[in-house]
């Protein structure tokens, strides 16, 4: 199975890593991540909350898929189903000084940082009540008040932005770091390497989280990238790197926590490669039949579904019962349904709003400093 080959090599890469890796990230090899301090310190309620967040993301995505199929959403819809533990795990170890930026597969990160389903679903439907007033769409969610800087449609385009966020944090003397999420395919964009060099040269607290789901659209990793693992590409810039399992929420938390600590204490960047998998096509429009088999998808779902695995752990830890898990699922579904109703009932933006939000000063005419004509074809009033 071409697309999953990267999984089998993970153990090998781990050996390589421990010899190269800055110790403050990997520390002693801990096999079960439930024993790492960052996970041990979680109380039962917090553990259940993480489960509930993953469930909410999955049900939101499924509901949005239905809305797309019903013709309420157009354009692209890139679903995050299968990768939930990455965003939820990573965001859960952030402090309030830390920041997030990601690519176009951004609904999971948006919900993980605390955006609500209503504003997200409304944005997907292009409604005025959406998080970007219907102007950004699926690929361009933003919530700066939650330290969430988007949602970026051009592959790799967010990698220098993450660097800049880290630069500003350091410049301002804030102790925070920037988590910059990206796909495996995005590692082949040049700006990523220019960013890695600067991150290392200037000691910037940016953490590149490569969500390696095995595919760049229909191209398996083995057909798009030379050199394994992808995280090792940090090495030539003396950037710490490591590879982790994205189906294990505790492992993601431990890895990101260590990288954040390194960023906070020594202002150093990291590259974390998190092996994960997307269950749906690249976008909803991708029939997903030319490049991987149904069996491959089923196998992953069966053995590595991050939500079922975590549910089992929580049941074993006696934090969760089957009954409570179902309740949480039910309420996630209801919340997602309600968000679709909210979005459907919301008004469309008016054409007159096209010209808002372009320049700061045309939105704030009393503080306008420049003169001259700004716009050359406007909606007729």
């Amino acid at each position: 199975m071409e697309g999953l080959y990267h999984d089998t090599d993970l153990e090998k890469s781990k050996e390589e890593i421990s010899s190269i890796q800055n110790e403050s990230i990997e520390g002693d090899e801990v096999r079960s991540f439930s024993e790492t301090p960052i996970n041990k310190s979680l109380d039962s309620e917090e553990r259940v909350r993480l489960f509930s967040q993953m469930m909410r993301i999955r049900r939101f995505e499924e509901r949005s898929l239905r809305a797309y199929q019903q013709g309420h959403i157009g354009g692209f819809l890139h679903l995050y189903i299968g990768q939930e533990a990455v965003a939820v795990g990573a965001v859960s170890v952030m402090s309030e000084d830390d920041h997030v930026i990601t690519a176009y597969r951004d609904h999971g990160h948006a919900l993980a940082v605390g955006m609500n389903m209503d504003e997200c679903m409304a944005e997907l439907l292009g409604k005025k009540t959406g998080c970007s007033k219907g102007k950004g769409g699926s690929m361009h969610f933003f919530a700066p008040d939650k330290n969430f800087w988007g949602g970026h449609g051009i592959v790799g385009g967010q990698t220098p932005l993450g660097l800049g966020i880290a630069y500003a944090l350091k410049y301002k003397g804030t102790k925070g770091a920037c988590l910059c999420f990206m796909g495996d395919g995005a590692t082949n964009q040049g700006p990523f390497y220019e960013s890695l060099n600067l991150a290392s040269l200037w000691g910037l607290p940016v953490i590149y989280v490569i969500e390696n789901n095995g595919y760049s659209m229909g191209t398996a990793e083995s057909r798009h990238s030379a050199g394994e693992p992808l995280a090792r590409r940090g090495e030539v810039f003396d950037v710490n790197w490591s590879v982790h399992h994205g189906h294990d929420l505790y492992e993601v938390r431990a890895a990101v926590h260590d990288a954040l600590t390194l960023a906070r204490t020594e202002s150093k960047p990291s590259v974390l490669e998190i092996i994960t998998y997307r269950y749906r096509g690249h976008s909803v429009a991708d029939p997903d039949q030319t490049y991987r088999s149904k069996e491959e998808i089923e196998e992953y779902k069966k053995s590595k579904d991050p939500i079922s695995l975590y549910k089992d752990i929580l049941i074993k830890e006696e934090c969760l019962t089957e009954e409570l898990a179902q309740k949480i699922d039910q309420s996630a579904k209801e919340e997602a349904d309600a968000s679709a109703e909210f979005a459907l009932a919301s008004p469309n933006p008016d054409p007159s709003e096209l010209m808002d939000d372009i320049y700061w000063e045309t939105d704030n005419p009393t503080d306008r400093r420049s003169e001259g004509t700004m716009f050359f074809e406007c909606p007729e009033t």
Binding site: E123, G136, G137, M139, G153, M217, P349, L354, E380
Partner: protein, 325 residues
């Protein structure tokens, strides 16, 4: 004449030229195994093999530059951008290297490359994915740029572009890919670059357009004739650079009224250059100010409702036409 889609026409052009000339290869993201994001290269990997139909990583700067380097060596690469919007990460390669190598080498080197892919709005994909950079390309001496609007032109102009000895930017349109039209079965169907097409003859007003806007212009011309007793002429530019200035001037002299329609943003858009040419060469023939309809001057909106209003649509174009009649 067989009725085929714009997509099939492109496929035929590419296939015929690849079969005809061993220097022609097609490369880009998802062009081979996935058959192209919009299935333009369906069947081509099977027919020509992976030496000629080549999947690339998401490395536009690298594979555009690679194509230019190979073209300098005498190959004729066709480089696909999944969207022209993504050429922005390869801007230097196209706008510096492809455009200027010939000039800077005093004519010692030429760059017979084709860059192609869709460049359009109207599909609710938001600001980053909806660019129409034909005016950028046309603003750059050394580059040619064409915007075929029909299946026949998609085929004939693509073939001419591949045989051209200079870099040609072919800007297609995802919304036109399913458009059907008659396309001659001719291995040497070559539509010359720089030749406009008179899409409809008329006497009262000239609507000059390119790309998908040609179809909007045709709809408006029909409304004008049915409901307003106005006979509109529609000129499809087809090629932006080289530009068929004679055809533009001729239609202006005939109808004395001009409406320009295109999906570009207005400032320094294609229409701006054309209206300069008209006032410069045919000022005395104008009975009304030149008007234009372009995209509303904002980054492309995602919302369907907003975007449908933003790009030139039938009603906006009709209204503008009536203003000068």
């Amino acid at each position: 004449m067989p009725l085929i889609t714009y997509r099939e026409a492109l496929n035929q052009a590419l296939s015929e030229e690849i079969a005809r000339d061993s220097n022609v290869v097609l490369m880009g993201e998802e062009v081979a195994q996935f058959k192209g994001s919009y299935k333009v290269s369906e069947g081509m990997l099977e027919n020509f093999g992976s030496d000629r139909i080549i999947d690339t990583p998401i490395s536009e700067a690298a594979f555009s530059g690679l194509g230019i380097g190979a073209a300098m060596m005498g190959m004729r690469p066709v480089v696909e951008f999944m969207f022209w919007s993504f050429c922005y990460v390869a801007f230097d390669q196209i706008f510096n290297n492809a455009a200027s190598v010939r000039y800077m080498s005093g004519g010692l080197i030429n760059v017979p490359i084709v860059f192609r892919g869709p460049a359009n709005g109207g599909t609710n994909v938001g600001a980053t994915h909806s660019h129409t950079p034909e005016n950028f390309a046309a603003n750059t001496p050394g580059l040619k740029v064409i915007c075929p609007a029909t299946p026949a032109d998609a085929k004939g102009m693509m073939k001419s572009a591949i045989r051209d000895n200079d870099p040609v930017c072919v800007m297609e349109n995802t919304i036109l890919y399913n458009l059907q039209g008659d396309v001659p079965e001719d291995n040497d169907l070559l539509v010359p670059l720089g030749k406009a097409r008179l899409a409809m003859e008329g006497n009262d007003i000239s609507i000059i357009a390119h790309g998908r806007s040609v179809h909007t212009a045709m709809e408006v011309a029909e409304t004008l004739s049915e409901k307003h007793n106005v006979s509109a002429e529609v000129l499809d530019l087809r090629s932006i650079r080289p530009l068929d200035v004679d055809a533009i001037i001729e239609t202006v002299r005939k109808t004395n009224r001009v409406l320009l329609v295109d999906e570009n943003k207005p400032f320094c858009g294609v229409g701006a250059q054309i209206s300069f040419l008209i006032q410069d060469r045919a000022f005395d023939y104008l009975d009304a100010p030149i008007k234009r309809v372009s995209a509303i001057d904002a980054p492309q909106a995602y919302s369907k409702v907003l975007e449908n209003y933003q790009i030139p649509n039938h009603d906006r174009v009709l209204k503008k036409a009536l203003e000068i009649l």
